[in-house]
Subunit: 342 residues, 2 copies
DNA sequence: TCGGACGTGGGTAACGTTTTCCAAATGTTT
DNA sequence: AAACATTTGGAAAACGTTACCCACGTCCGA
């Protein structure tokens, strides 16, 4: 339990002041190359590492907090990969706060990160009110990922969910499908209705169906973005007098639930019904499943978010920006040509 | 950008000293019920939240760091769930450090957590040398999950991998299989050879095969615990003059890779070949896959780890303990009776 | 030669807590 | 009533770092 080496030890060892050591550590102005070298050697010899808590008290903590609503969603893992890749090589460390389902839990987690004086926050698909997010971002540089709408205080990175939904509808319509149903995440809150990806996907679905002249076939099962939600939603859709020939699930995990319900009903995919998901998670590309899905390029989203948060840490006055990425469609084996119309 | 409320503001507002406030915050001795009430009211009125960085400089940071080697492994998500569930309701916040594949990356991450003066560390399946782990644990209360062997400085939580492997072999042997092959994670380091779960699983496989009188059929493909490793390993096994009738993959993700290779070879599961995995991750239980797998109860492991780390924070002198849980087998549809021996 | 600009280095006061005393008040035993 | 223990509250010194400012040389142009 020997004490940690401090900046004072380094200063003594290099025969300079602690100010000098601090300057070297931060690449700050006012240190000659000679002194720099001397200090760096002392740091190396003593194996000194700065104490982040102490740093945080005056300056930065070199920590970026990432809030993730759900560890099991593989799409989020892609985002994290993008973030860490972008931040690799810098002094910043990424720390993830897990398990924040629900507004209350989310508030607790955001508070915890703020309390730890993190330099920047990346919030993935937060459910908090816009007011709250705006306040948080006022105190700490923040990037919100996966939530539409702009804010004067935080940057945002989103996927164009309307386009994504259209990709699916067009793909299915091109294959001859008309009865294309959708399973959505039920949303009540008015603001979130406009900002959350799930709502945008449902809107995109409606628009695209209308554009293709299929408005009479619009059919939405309103459940939730979970495996269970997909299962229940598909069950509902299968009881229709005229069964849909294709199901567009709002997320991959939903599609998996739907697949299970369809299999239970004794129907085959894509023979009887085509199924498409959203997120193109690792699950979707897994051979035996091979789910057609909208690809959001999570890595790119994560990298952009990291870039933006660092940018805002550097210049807090800069105007906020909104990055909107375009999704692509990964066509696989769960979608196929529809049977001729009866 | 209004300044944060500090302990000084609270003290002033409640007309007491900062010491008094601090005592109330920490439930420390020396505060009368009357004062406690007064201070708590002031805290509520001002919406005060203690600054973790400042706390860390003298006392605790109320932060537990969890190192996780791979975000995509769903088994790890179960462990995290167990940890957060156990810690819910306490003042401790869990922060996860991602992306630490490789010894060097792992060292960087552990350093980062130490630098941030975390109160406790939970290291999941670390690959660092035992010496290094021992040193880390000397500086910070640490629990190692998923690595066998005991240490004088850290507690450990493991699953009995030898038993787990035996469960699979017995299950398959009971179904009439004799050519039961295994796909292992290749290991070179001598210490890790004894401590890492993958090695224990391979040992358990050998022992069980011998015990069942099947030693002549022992057949191991040595690749890695990845999807790719499972694919390659299965390819190897399928080229044998006499093809195995069952494959025991050391991890679920490996089993998935194997399933893909088997499907490509035009063979059916479990008709031609039975496949079993390890970890019983969410993937394994997913209907269309329905993989027979060893269940480790990750939630329980996480809960135990959290309990132990808090215990060690409270009493750093207590002797280290080793918790060893017993796995069970979740039998599903990828294993079936073997064809009669030819 | 003077005066300012610039480069170099350090002294010192924060930052927001906890911890270690210490003093005063109160209670309890002889 | 004296002596002693306990409770209650606070003053002040850490903790390790950074930010702010000042001092001293040296260089250069006027």
């Amino acid at each position: 339990m020997d004490k940690r080496v401090t900046i004072i030890d380094v200063a003594r060892h290099a025969q300079v002041s602690t100010t000098a050591v601090s300057k070297v550590l931060r690449n700050a102005y006012g240190a000659s190359p000679a002194m720099r070298a001397k200090v760096q050697q002392a740091i190396a010899e003593l194996g000194y590492r700065p104490n982040a808590a102490a740093r945080g008290l005056r300056g930065q903590t070199y920590t970026i907090g990432v809030m993730i609503p759900e560890l099991r969603n593989l799409f989020f893992a892609d985002i994290i990969d993008g973030i860490t890749a972008q931040l690799g090589g810098t002094d910043y460390q990424v720390l993830i706060a897990p398990g924040c389902n629900g507004e209350k839990e989310e508030a607790r987690v955001i508070d915890a990160m703020t309390d730890r004086s993190m330099d920047g926050l990346i919030l993935i698909a937060p459910v908090s009110s816009k007011k709250r997010l705006t306040e948080v971002a006022r105190a700490t540089p923040t990037v919100v990922v996966g939530r539409h709408g702009s804010s004067p205080t935080y940057d945002s990175v989103t996927d164009d969910d309307v386009v994504g939904a259209a990709l699916v509808v067009d793909h299915l319509a091109d294959l001859g499908h008309r009865r294309i149903a959708h399973i959505e995440h039920h949303e009540t809150d008015r603001v979130r209705l406009a900002e959350m990806p799930n709502a945008q996907r449902a809107n995109g679905y409606r628009e695209a169906m209308t554009r293709r002249g299929l408005s009479e076939f619009i059919d939405i099962a309103s459940t939730s973005y979970t495996h269970e939600g997909g299962y229940v939603g598909a069950k509902q859709l299968l009881t229709r007098a005229e069964r849909p020939t294709a199901v567009f699930a709002g997320a991959d995990v939903v599609a998996l639930g739907a697949l299970e319900a369809i299999a239970e009903a004794g129907l085959s995919v894509p023979g009887d019904i085509s199924v498409a998901g959203y997120d193109n998670s690792a699950l979707a590309s897994f051979g035996p499943i091979s789910l057609t899905s909208v690809d959001q390029d999570g890595r790119q989203m994560g990298a952009d978010a990291a870039r933006l948060v660092i940018g805002r840490i550097t210049d807090r006055e800069r105007r906020t920006v909104q990055v909107k990425l375009s999704p692509t469609l990964a066509v696989r084996r769960t979608t196929a040509r529809a049977a001729p119309h009866t």
